[in-house]
């Protein structure tokens, strides 16, 4: 039975792929589209340069991710502050999340990336790498903070009450009871954001750094050909597809452990 469905699945997939491969080239404009988007000569000429430019993305991603994880947690904790005296902290957390989740990333990047250096910082402190990173970290921390918050709120109130009745302070309850469970619960959700971040670091190119999308854009305008974007997409896929599969597997494992 299982074998039969496997055969059917394979056959129907092959049929669909064959239909696409055979039918699309029959469209009247195919030759032009092929020349502009799937140009082998342009592809091989530009691909090595794109791979080199992708290292810039990896670099920015590598130092942004830990900062976002930490700042996001701090904001989430601020929003969870319960003592009345700490209300300003809570208010700050709320306003922060509303603002940075509501504003387009690209505006934050322009504003921070050009605006703050424009105040008159000397080199190297006005580097677009520094302030672009700040912009990305500010924005993504808001999203990550919300994810952490849902994790924190998913831990039942009775656990807090039990821990408090054992004499633990508010922060100890957080540290030893709530967070270890909450963080583990939201790992898959945060992984999704991580994958999104990996594409959004490309937005830093708006303020100067030549990463893979920008490099593809340069090739595109020099050669009047869109094929370099295909190369960039393949490079991105080579990273995002395994990452997504890995997250999927992690979620499945977690679900299995819970049930």
């Amino acid at each position: 039975m299982r074998r039969r469905s496997l055969v059917i699945a394979t056959a129907s997939t092959a049929l669909v792929v064959a239909a696409i491969v055979l039918l699309v080239p029959l469209a009247p404009g195919w030759e032009r589209v092929q020349k502009a988007f799937f140009n082998g000569e342009v592809f091989w000429k530009t691909f090595p340069g794109l791979v080199k430019a992708f290292l810039v993305d990896i670099m920015i991603f590598a130092w942004c991710a830990p900062m976002i994880a930490v700042l996001g947690l701090v904001i989430a904790l601020a929003r969870d502050a319960r003592s009345p005296a700490l209300f300003p902290l809570r208010l700050f957390g709320m306003v922060y999340n509303d603002v940075f989740r509501g504003v387009p990333v690209i505006l934050v990047i322009y504003l921070v990336g050009f605006g703050i250096p424009g105040l008159g910082l000397p080199r190297p402190w006005n580097s677009p790498y520094i302030w672009g990173t700040v912009a990305v970290v500010l924005t993504y921390s808001a999203y990550v903070a919300e994810v952490y918050r849902t994790g924190i709120e998913s831990i039942h109130e009775s656990q807090r009450a039990a821990a408090t009745s054992l004499g633990l302070s508010h922060w100890d309850v957080m540290r030893f009871v709530i967070l270890p469970q909450a963080i583990r619960r939201v790992i898959p959700a945060n992984m999704n954001l991580l994958i999104a971040l990996q594409k959004d670091v490309a937005l830093l190119s708006f303020i100067g750094p030549v990463e893979v999308l920008r490099q593809a854009g340069v090739y595109k305008s020099l050669l009047a050909n869109f094929t370099p974007y295909l190369g960039a997409a393949l490079i991105f896929l080579a990273v995002t597809v395994p990452a997504t599969r890995w997250v999927d597997r992690m979620i499945a494992r977690q679900n299995a452990a819970r049930s």
Binding site: G118, G120, V210
Partner: protein, 274 residues
């Protein structure tokens, strides 16, 4: 009576038809996107001094004036010209175009010529080095050795990234930006020292966009590698030959030079890079 009326109206229709064809110049007839109308595209925003106040229909600015003159010589009166705006990408994407021709300082290169068609050049651009006063005070000079040491920033969608490599060969990799407006912003923020753009744009940016902009020097037009602007056509568009004929005429009788003198007059005076 009826017959006479019929004959008369038939004759009138013929005459009108002949007139319309005449007005449109035999070359361009039937080759335009919309019958009897020439659709011209430019960027949005279109920049000074190429188009004044982002309004090409006013005919003010170098490219707007060139467009109307070309149109006139192809047989389209000013009211038969329609404007549209496109990005660079829309001009090079495969398939039918939404314009008859497109002008927004498209540099003619052999690679681009494989996907789109260019007219003969209507302008040969000198490349200019734009800096801010603090950089000049710090000792930047219009000499290659001095230029190499500067931190460069360029507009990515232009030929500048390729030109800078061959003209200057900077010591550190240039930063690249979305457009010249962003380049100016990076200059203001001090993230870059210098940028390369065509001389008329550089003079405008130095005088209007930046408080303390200086055109440090220029690489004169006509030197290698040349940077010439051409009208962009869909690959294989027969209208190109008509536009080329119009441009050749304009060059021969001095009309193009007159337009250049009117809108790009101040384009001299920057020292030549040694």
């Amino acid at each position: 009576m009826r017959l006479a009326q019929f004959t008369l109206s038939a004759a009138m229709a013929l005459a009108l038809g002949a007139n319309a064809a005449m007005a449109q110049n035999d070359c361009a007839a039937g080759k335009t996107l919309k019958e009897g109308v020439l659709t011209i595209a430019t960027g949005n925003p279109a920049y000074f001094p190429w188009v004044i106040d982002n309004d090409p229909a006013s005919g003010k600015g170098f490219e707007a004036a060139v467009a109307y003159e070309v149109a006139k010589r192809m047989g389209f009166a000013a009211e038969k010209v329609e404007w549209t705006s496109t990005t660079f990408d829309q001009a090079i994407q495969p398939g039918p175009k939404e314009f008859d021709f497109n002008l927004q300082q498209y540099s003619i290169t052999p690679e681009r010529d494989q996907t789109i068609d260019f007219s003969e050049p209507y302008y040969n651009a000198a490349q200019a080095v734009l800096v801010r006063k603090p950089t000049v005070d710090a000792g930047a000079k219009p000499e290659l050795a001095s230029l190499k040491a500067l931190k460069w920033g360029l507009a990515a969608g232009t030929t500048a990234p390729a030109l800078i490599a061959s003209l200057v060969g900077p010591e550190s990799d240039p930063l690249l930006y979305e457009d010249t407006a962003d380049v100016s912003e990076a200059l203001k923020a001090g993230q870059i020292d210098a940028t390369l753009m065509d001389l008329p744009s550089a003079l405008y940016t130095a005088a209007v966009v930046l408080d303390d902009g200086v055109v440090l020097g220029q690489f004169p037009a006509g030197e290698t590698p040349a940077d010439s602007f051409g009208l962009v056509f869909e690959e294989g568009n027969a209208l190109k030959d008509c536009a080329n004929a119009a441009l050749a005429e304009m060059k021969a009788d001095g009309a193009l030079a007159a337009i250049e003198a009117e809108w790009l007059a101040e384009a001299t005076g920057a020292p030549v890079v040694k």
